[in-house]
Chain length 316, copies 2
């Protein structure tokens, strides 16, 4: 998709996976399915509907097979599922997933803590997944902690590029996602790393940014990536998805914020913002969730000007 | 300052003016002074301490003379005051203001509603102010609604440039601030307009962005301006300063968010972020205020990693 159209982007809604997984109170399966249906109806054409993974590891997503089954009824939806290995990948494909997402952390320390594998083991797990996949199943490879790690701090670009050197050639048509796991990436860093990575791996055509908004840099980082030619952005409705390293802080950049920014820029997202805002308001009230984003509040307040409050000379 | 140092910026703290003015409950003068003192102690070297204007127009800022008087005790602080005309400008200079700020809206409709002058009248008011000023008093000219107007919508760049053509030559060493009054500017628009304006007015050396964060674009816009060479940024501690056109929505970009972003980028702001965060937390609890920003919450939650909550394979 990269470069195909300067004024069109794709938003991948990851709320049903990344947003829901950290919520301890179980969200009823029917509620999850309803959110997926409504997000699709609002114009989102790719949704990460859950994870295929041990139900003990992520109890909230134990019903992903049912959510995926329902998602398959939505004609035109690319249903994406996060998988940790070839075994779960095979199950997801058999259950009808259109896109698989696989995660490796640039930081080996984070990789060990997050998925209990060292880099060598993760590379092998990815190789087995790639070997199993047929061409009709799309693959997203997510590089977590691509910019910053809670254990190792700011990541060197070279660490990410070295990892990509090994992984990318295994499946040249892979979609490569760089993830700002901690939300501490800066827009300058995001722009620089994407520029380097694209130059280094010209065979990879599809690049994505998975931005977090924990420190308010979500949209700045999305914009910085867009400037370098990135056209695929992960986001979570209502900004759901807390940050496990900053209790009480918000996580994923909000889908409605990303949609708003691009719509103001005249970039087509295919999404109906009013519909999305209605869904985001409901998402924000899911018990146990940590909603974020800014646009939801701005519009909730109403956009009617209250001119009488403007006293002279007040406004800048 | 522009271009002097790629890795240094100046933050102008506007909270005591733009943040406080919309709060209906009077903030005691001693409290205002204490905030100014603490913000200065945290490393902020320019603070807009209030407005010289009719006390009836902005009752909250009726005590600006006292706040300014106290600010003058802070050696090294540039005390900035917003003034609507030559008369109040003269009073502010006599009271010891180091920098005067004057506002004209790019949108004539907004100018009429905000300060009850048409463009011709505002140009004359500016001319009289410039004629009165001696060289030792610095001048900031703020162009409100430079990107978007609540009445006229998105502003054409040409409208802003035409206005600058008239105003800028009156005082070539003026500092020019472009203000995103509604918070609806996009980073692309911000970058484009600053590039055009700097090219059009090469004699103007000092450019500033006054960003609002109503829709979460504050930092993205600050970054976009910085990329074009802008090195002066208005911000308000705790993000104080509601948006009069979106009740309940936040206004000014938060000083702590701007400080955080630049510190992560290795850009010197001269500000102690921990001190600033402590002040921002108090600012956020001012009765009647509408605090914003993201960094305050992220750090309030504590930055200690809670690794046990990370279940595999969870994080991207």
């Amino acid at each position: 998709m990269l470069g195909d159209d300067f004024r069109r982007i794709e938003i991948v809604e990851v709320g049903p996976r990344d947003g829901f997984q950290g919520i301890s109170q179980f969200i009823p399966t029917e509620t999850k399915i309803r959110f997926v249906e409504r997000l699709f109806d609002a114009g989102i054409h790719r949704i990460e509907v859950g994870s295929f993974v041990s139900p003990r590891a992520v109890p909230q997503l134990a019903d992903t097979p049912q959510v995926l089954e329902a998602s398959r009824q939505l004609s035109g939806l690319a249903a994406q599922v996060l998988v940790p290995n070839e075994k779960y990948g095979r199950a997801a494909v058999e259950a009808g997933a259109d896109v698989l997402a696989f995660v490796v952390s640039a930081s080996e320390t984070h990789n060990m803590r997050n998925i209990r594998l060292d880099h060598r083991q993760s590379v092998e797990a990815y190789r087995r997944l790639v070997d199993m996949l047929t061409d009709n199943v799309r693959l997203r490879l997510n590089i977590a902690t691509a910019f910053d790690c809670p254990f190792e701090g700011r990541m060197d670009d070279s660490a990410v590029l070295s990892l990509l050197d090994v992984l990318a050639p295994m499946r040249p048509d892979v979609e490569l996602g760089l993830c700002d796991t901690t939300g501490r990436a800066t827009p300058e860093q995001v722009g620089t790393l994407f520029e380097k990575a694209r130059k280094r791996l010209p065979a990879v055509k599809n690049w994505a940014l998975h931005a977090h908004d924990t420190y308010g840099l979500g949209l700045a980082n999305v914009f910085a990536a867009w400037r370098t030619g990135v056209r695929i952005f992960d986001a979570s409705f209502a900004g759901l998805g807390g940050c496990p390293f900053a209790p009480g802080a918000t996580g994923n950049v909000a889908t409605e914020d990303v949609t708003w920014m691009f719509s103001r820029m005249g970039v087509d997202t295919s999404i109906d913002l009013d519909e999305l805002l209605a869904i985001a308001r409901e998402g924000a009230s899911i018990p146990g969730g940590t909603p974020g984003g800014r646009v939801r509040q701005a519009f909730t307040g109403g956009m009617k000007a209250r001119f009488s409050q403007v006293t002279a000379p007040a406004e800048t």
